[in-house]
């Protein structure tokens, strides 16, 4: 099991190396520093939410509300900072708090009443998309000029701020998943919730917290997005949940729960972002881009599955 997990990560790494070789030679501008930083910036859009999603999926649940939650965060922070006149620090804090609370609410429905997480977050999905379009009238809500938002949209030591946030959170989540009682409890309850419960692990509280964390991460992504665009937009982050879930699953985390790795998710995030970037750079027809993306995602997982099986047979 350990072994096959390692193989999984190696397989993805190999796929990423292949992508770099192909795109580096075929796609003009791919290897430029600015493009690489652009990739990191785009990766942050998926990655920040993907760390939390990995834990949610390891716990045997799913959260499909990421896209609307990000859009809602972006609208919320802009509305609060402008129309509601709350000032920038308070607006940001409020956005993060409300995002967390909404996530916690979905988690509560799951943990307390056993509403399937797919349905609980489908409800949130629909409600948040509608709500952010409604309060913004489907128009972008401009952010006020501010050094703080400029900083979020800008760079830290040459690296885009969102990418820095993503990397910092990656480290935090790696430690949480591998080294904290909380993280291990997530694995335990995903692997066998009844056994975890019997061992005295607060299963309900952990479930609620996982969705709360996801809401928090989506709100962060939303604030970063608003800073990048200079406005909050209720129609943004369409379909982001698919990219996030795909990154997690490409990383080898099983939707059945109980196993998975944040590091592998990180590779999945890079993989997905690279494909998106490369297809544009290669000048592929916009519609064929979707076709190629679909084929590559399936191929990546297929190769990984086959590698994993081979390694299990020969070991």
């Amino acid at each position: 099991m350990r072994l096959s997990r390692g193989v999984n990560e190696l397989g993805l790494l190999a796929a990423i190396v292949v992508l770099y070789l192909v795109l580096g030679t075929q796609a003009g501008g791919f290897l430029t520093g600015s493009n690489q930083l652009g990739i990191l910036r785009d990766a942050a859009q998926i990655g920040i939410a993907a760390w939390g999603m990995t834990l949610v999926i390891i716990a045997g649940d799913i959260d499909i509300s990421i896209g609307p939650a990000v859009a809602f965060g972006s609208v919320m922070v802009a509305k609060a900072a402008t129309d509601w006149g709350l000032g920038i620090p308070l607006s940001v804090v409020l956005t993060l708090v409300i995002g967390t609370a909404i996530g916690a609410f979905a988690g509560f429905l799951r943990a307390q009443y056993n509403v399937p997480s797919f349905i609980a977050t489908l409800g949130v999905y629909s409600a948040l998309r509608g709500l952010s379009q409604f309060i913004s009238n489907a128009l972008p809500v401009p952010l006020p000029e501010s050094r703080f938002f400029d900083f979020l949209a800008g760079e830290v030591a040459g690296v885009p701020t969102p990418a820095v946030v993503m990397i910092v959170l990656l480290v935090v989540f790696l430690v949480i998943a591998l080294k904290t009682p909380y993280g291990r409890a997530v694995y335990a309850l995903g692997g066998n919730a009844r056994a975890a419960e019997l061992a005295g692990i607060p299963v309900k509280r952990i479930r609620i917290s996982l969705f709360a964390v996801n809401g928090f991460l989506a709100a962060i992504t939303g604030v970063l997005l608003a800073a990048r665009l200079g406005s909050g937009s209720g129609g943004s982050a369409m379909g982001l949940e698919f990219d996030v879930i795909a990154a997690v699953v490409i990383g080898g985390t099983a939707l059945a729960g109980g196993s998975g790795s944040i590091l592998a998710t990180a590779l999945g995030v890079i993989f997905i972002t690279l494909i998106g970037n490369g297809l544009v750079l290669l000048g592929v027809n916009q519609f064929l881009q979707d076709v190629v993306r679909g084929v590559i995602i399936v191929l990546a997982v297929l190769v990984n599955v086959l590698l994993g099986r081979r390694s299990r047979l020969t070991s």
Binding site: D42, A138, L139, A153, A237, V280, L281
Partner: protein
Amino acid sequence: SSGTSNSSSTGPVKDRSLRVGAVFMDSQGFYGGVKAGFQSAGSASGAKLKLVESNPGGDVAKEASFVSTLVSSKVDALIISASSETGSVPAIRSAAKAGIPVVCYNTCIGDADTSKYVSAYVQGDPVAFGQDTGNAAADYFLKAGIKDPKIAVVNCEFVEVCKLRRQGFEEALKAKVPGYQIVSNQAGTTQDKAVSVAGNQIQANPDLDAFYGESGGATYGAYKAIQAANKSGKIVVFGSDMTTDIANALADGTVIKSITDISGKVTGKLAWEQVQRVVEGDESLGKIVDAPITGYTAEDKATVQEWLKTHADGLP
């Protein structure tokens, strides 16, 4: 920023290899027309044109990341139908700052920013667009003697352009038929959504006189819903955007009474002309080019037939 494109030379585009980034706002047929018009005009002027294209589906976030990718790849120019007047500003600004000339078509960012960052804007003014439909509708109502028409809107108002189209539509109506009433306004941009939404609107408003379709899908969906409800002729449609099946319905004339259209191909051709102007060395900013808004009505069958003949490939 340097303000220079990466192509080493300026001067005539003939025989030059040009990589142009193209951002289509979403996957409507109009953008297929733009692409075709742009490419054929480009090759006609002898350039070796390579399009690097993408389609953010109206999502400003996706648009921003596409544009940054195009900037990294140092395309020679960027043509874009901006998803949002305000939300698209950072993306376009970053392209301009990287020295990539930007040509807007169809939609663009606010006026002030356009004059700062955009080389040219091939504009299909959405308010004027809506006014054209509104006028056609008003003429129809006046002729039919309907003073207080009840109108249902099938909209695409999650993008700004569509809001502006309705604004123009209502302005024109208010001037000529002040008794009009919008009894329902619901979203239905794709044909399948529109047909079911319009069907519901017919049920909710038995005395409905007309539909306004803000987009091609909305228009066609309303048309199909009227047919399905056996209300052909009782309820009519004023719509937007030509496609082959809409043109056919308009030629028939019992349900669809008018269509306002901006030709994608013409828009694409105008965009190419601006790209050509810029890469040949004219660095002036903020030029506004009006894309012709064309009204088609059921009464003027000849023009509709003409459209069908000249658009045999279906691209608008």
